[in-house]
Structures are given as structure tokens and as C-alpha cells.
């Protein structure tokens, strides 16, 4: 089983290193948000000058400054954005007959799906970690805001942060794989992705605290996987006192999202494998449905 998965991931890796534009484009928007938006927009500066620093920290739920608060949101956003390319490979594999070749071998359907999920999941993690690295680095650049983490973060807290990034990446990878397995054409895939991209970001607390939002929006924000991941990270890095639930609860919610989305994606993958089998030349069968 593992050998089949490794073979399939190796194929994706070889293609990926030969066309790194995908990664660069997936990385660009979160980085631009960090070095442009994050530097220009500071929620704390909108408060009257006589508001004490402790109030600002309270508004930002423990984060020492707005950039630190925002940078954590961008980690989740980077993962979500990178994941949006996850389904493209699936569509090309379907269109070019490669999927047909793969499913005609004894390799199990589960192994084929796992290879897609694992490889795309890892690709999703890379930008998330690059954003953390860049945000931490910016703190040492004179004149720029950077991510500062107060001392006192526990090993367990750090593990929860990593787990949150990992789970969020897998969840979004699975979501976009699901679209890839069900889409017939790359155009319809990117149509859906474009529609989803901003709502996913804007119905989260990635960029600003949800306290000022109308109640209905707060309910949506509370269950958005980006919010859940961001809550786990911020509560562990900046202190959990401002949150109604413990980080473990948010993490559990995130794991639930991942489980549901992976189940959905694997179901759609299986369905796609079943219906893709007799696709032969378009002349004889017409385009794949």
C-alpha cells in the first residue's frame, strides 16, 4: 500500500518541481497581505490615543499588537489559498486519461485518494509555515511590524498550534479535492473556487476580531474552520483568557471539519473512479460527464 502511495506522490513531486509557478502564485497573496495590508492597516491606531495599551491587548484577545494578531490569521489564510489549487491536478488527470491508467492497476482506490490528499496537503502546509517564518522575520526589520510571541508558550501549546495548521491544511485540501473530483472542467472548478475564496476569508476572524460583527455573522465566524484554527493558534500563543472555550475545544471542532471534508472528498473520489473507467477516446464516448 505505502509503495503505491509513494509512487503516486513521487509522480506529483516530479511534476511540481518542474512547474513551480503554482506554488509561487499560491504563496503570493498571503505574502502581499503580510507586507502590504498588514503593515498599512493597524486596528490599534484607529482607537483614540488615550486608550491604554492594555485595552488594545484586550480587544485583540491577548495579541501584543495588531500585526501579530493578523499574522496568525494569514497563516490560516495562506493554507486555505494554497489548498485552492489542490483539485486542479485531479481534473487534468481525469482529462488526460492518467486517472484511467492509475485505476486500472491493482492499486486500491484508498491508496490513490490518500496519495492525492497527502501530497496536496503537504503543498498546502508549505505556504502556511513560510508565512509564520516571514512574519517572525519581519519583527527584526526596522520600521516594519512583525509577529511577536510573548514568552511562556508551552510545548503542548506549540504542538496544538502545529496540529491546527496540519488539520486545517488537510481540511481545505480535502474540500478542494472534492471539487476537483466532481468538476468536469477546469473552468467550472475555478468558477467555484473564485466564488468561495473571499467568503471563506471574510466570514472568519483571520483579519479582525469578531466582537464588532453583527450577531448572525458572529455565528458563521464561530464555526468557520479558519476561525477555529486561528483560535487554537492565538489562544496558545497569546493567552486563552479572552476565549469562551479552551483551545482543545476549537481543535476538536477543526478535526471534525477535517473528518467530514475528507469523508466527502473520498466519497466523490470513489464515485469519480467508478465513472471514469470506460472513458475512452472522446470520439467514441463523448466528453466525460
Amino acid at each position: 500500500m505505502y509503495r503505491e502511495i509513494v509512487s503516486l506522490m513521487r509522480r506529483e513531486y516530479l511534476k511540481w518541481i518542474r512547474a513551480p509557478t503554482w506554488v509561487i502564485s499560491g504563496l503570493l497573496s498571503p505574502v502581499l497581505y503580510l507586507v502590504l495590508f498588514g503593515q498599512a492597516f493597524d486596528l490599534a491606531k484607529l482607537l483614540p490615543p488615550n486608550v491604554p495599551g492594555s485595552t488594545i491587548v484586550r480587544v485583540l484577545l491577548g495579541a501584543p499588537n495588531y500585526f501579530s494578531y493578523f499574522a496568525i490569521g494569514m497563516v490560516a489564510f495562506a493554507a486555505a489559498t494554497a489548498a485552492m489549487f489542490s483539485g486542479t491536478g485531479v481534473i487534468f488527470d481525469k482529462q488526460l486519461g492518467i486517472q484511467q491508467r492509475i485505476i486500472s492497476t491493482p492499486t486500491s482506490r484508498g491508496a490513490i485518494f490518500s496519495a492525492y490528499l497527502l501530497f496536496r496537503g503537504v503543498l498546502t502546509l508549505i505556504p502556511a509555515f513560510l508565512v509564520i517564518g516571514l512574519a517572525l522575520l519581519l519583527a527584526y526589520v526596522p520600521g516594519l511590524a512583525g509577529l511577536t510571541v510573548p514568552s511562556g508558550v508551552t510545548g503542548l501549546g506549540l504542538a496544538e498550534v502545529l496540529l491546527a495548521i496540519l488539520t486545517l491544511s488537510l481540511a481545505f485540501t480535502a474540500l478542494f479535492l472534492a471539487f476537483g473530483f466532481s468538476a468536469g472542467k477546469i473552468e467550472s472548478y475555478f468558477g467555484v473556487v473564485t466564488i468561495l475564496q473571499l467568503p471563506i476569508l471574510l466570514t472568519s476572524n483571520a483579519m479582525y476580531p469578531s466582537g464588532t460583527m453583527p450577531p448572525w455573522l458572529q455565528h458563521v465566524v464561530a464555526v468557520n474552520p479558519i476561525s477555529l484554527a486561528v483560535n487554537v493558534m492565538r489562544a496558545n500563543l497569546f493567552g486563552a483568557s479572552g476565549y469562551p472555550y479552551s483551545p482543545g475545544i476549537y481543535l476538536a471542532g477543526l478535526v471534525g471539519w477535517a473528518a467530514v471534508l475528507i469523508a466527502l472528498a473520498s466519497f466523490l473520489a470513489y464515485r469519480s473512479f467508478q465513472s471514469g473507467v470506460v472513458r475512452s477516446d472522446p470520439g467514441e464516448w463523448g466528453p466525460a460527464p
Binding site: L14, G97, P106, G286
Partner: protein, 357 residues
Amino acid sequence: MSSTATDSADVICADDLRVVYPAGKRGGTGTRAVDGVTFRVRRGEIFGFLGPNGAGKTTTISVLTTLLAPSSGRATVAGLDTTVSAPEVRRRIGLVFQSSTADSELTGRENLTLEAGLYGFSPAEIAPRIEEVLRRVELSAVADRLVSTYSGGMRRRLELAAGLIHDPKIVFLDEPTLGLDPQGRAGFWRYIRDLRDTEGITVFLTTHYLEEADQLCDRIAIIDHGQIIATGSPGELKDRMGGDTLSVRTAPGAGDLEPVVRAIPGITAVLREDGGYRLKCARGDALVSKVVLAAQSAGISIEQLAVHKPSLDEVFLELTGHAYREEGTGADEPAEGPVPPAAASPTATAPSKHGGA
């Protein structure tokens, strides 16, 4: 596994296979792509599945290679049921699709390494085998080039190499020479004969080229509208046409040849045509000298004499009542995917070659 009393020499058995495609979204009834197909393929033979586009060839090969469950009926390959033991069947067969399935962003060698990995081989243990199949299909020199730079013929050969990577004893080829130039086709025929002759591999191939079936196959099944209408060796099928035809042209003003040739044993019929005669017989070659001698002794001078072997075109016309459809006329296929047996509605099974897109 195999419960039916199949001879062990029969490595591929199809019993009353039926595949029904569901009715299209725009209405219409379902299409019986395969409608009661039964045949046997013996070990070590090249078996051709011949028919026009849309006759049900690809559907049949999909069932035999486990990629599609039949709506009813049963298929066994190497004694294993294709629906019950699909993974075991897949391990034993090589499959070459009619369209390119290689990843064009990888090299030929990388594609074969991937294929081997999907059969559970590690790159190290499979390396010698990859060299061997590359040599067999004459791709060694370009093995490290990206497949996107390959010609159509090279891609077809890579497909064949991929189908052979795990050393299968049964190989399925779906329209292997589709779109190849005559040279490429001849080369492909050589590879296929070589598989049978040097390794005793059983080859099942679909084709809509009559010439290909004639040249390459030990036995042929002719399929049309989802049903097998004839099975046999190319020679047997041609014999059904009543054997050969001798066409004779006599010199102008020469006497009547008909009574002369009617007396020759073996001539079964004599037809007159403009300026000559058509003589039907089982084996034309053997009667040529007799016809010439008989004409000479009757004082009739022969200007021209030719032996016509019946072609599979004629066989096809005879069997189906319609001329062989050539490439590009098979657009009457269903646009929908297949249905699993349970989902196939029994009311949606009226034969309809026009129900698709």
C-alpha cells in the same frame, strides 16, 4: 473460482455479457452497448475483436479488464471472475488503452517506474524490467525525454510498454494501432506477434481495421450493434463466403467458356459478366491450371485470369447486410456513464443506437 466447466486452455471466457447504459438526461431509452456476448479465448492466441466504432468493443474490453461491471452475464480471465476478483485479475493482465494515458510531464522511464510502483514493485527491483520493455518497444534511446516531446507512435509504444511492465501473461489492447501510419502499424503488429511467439502471451485486441484482424489475429469475433455475429479464424470466416472467385476474360470473338468450365470438378458456379466470367470455387489456386488447360483444348484463348480471395469486407457485408462503417461514423454512443447492475432500470433496455448524444 471458476465454477463453469471451462477448458483450462480458455484463458478468457465471456458468458452472455450485457451492458446497459442508462437513458440520457435528454430522455430516450437506455442503450445496450453489449447485448449477450459469449466467446472463449485460448491460451497463446491473438484474438481479435472486430467491429465498427460504437459496436461495443471498448465496453466489452472494459468488462474483461474489470473496469466495468456487466449489467448481467459473467466474465472470467485466467479463471478469475472479473467482478468478484477484480484486483487479482488486474494483477494478471496488461492493458493498453486506445487513448494516451501516460503523464506527458514525466519522462518515459518515469512513467514506467510509476506504473511498476502501482503494481507494488520498488524502483530498484523493477529497473532491469523497465530496460527490457523499453528495448522491446524500441524506446530505450528516448526513455529519459519528457513524454510531451514524443511522437504519436512513440506514445503508443510507451502505452504498450506500460501494459507489459508487470510481465502479464494476458494482454488486452484496445485499438492499439488507431491513428498510426502504415509503418508504425506494421511495427506494432511485429511487437504483438513477438509477444505471442516468444513468451506465449495471450493477446486480446479490439480493432476496426479489417486488414489488421486479417493479418494479425489467429481468431476473430465480429461484433456489431453489441452482438457477436461470427467467430472463427480469418480463413474460416472467408470460407463462409463460398471460397474464391476466378475471374476470366477471354479474347474477343472466342467461344463460350461456360460449358467448358462447368465440366471442371470444383467449380461450383459460373457467372457471366461483361466480357468475361466469374467462377466460384473453394480453392481458386488449385483450379487455375485446369481452367487454362480446358480452355486451350476447347480452342478458347484466355486474355486474363485472376484469383480473388474473399476479403473480410465481404464477410462483414454478408453477415451484417451493411457495408463496413469506417472511422468517424460511430458517433452514436451514449454520452452517459455506465450504470452498475442494480441501477440499470429494466424498463430502460430497449435497444437504441440513436439514444445517445
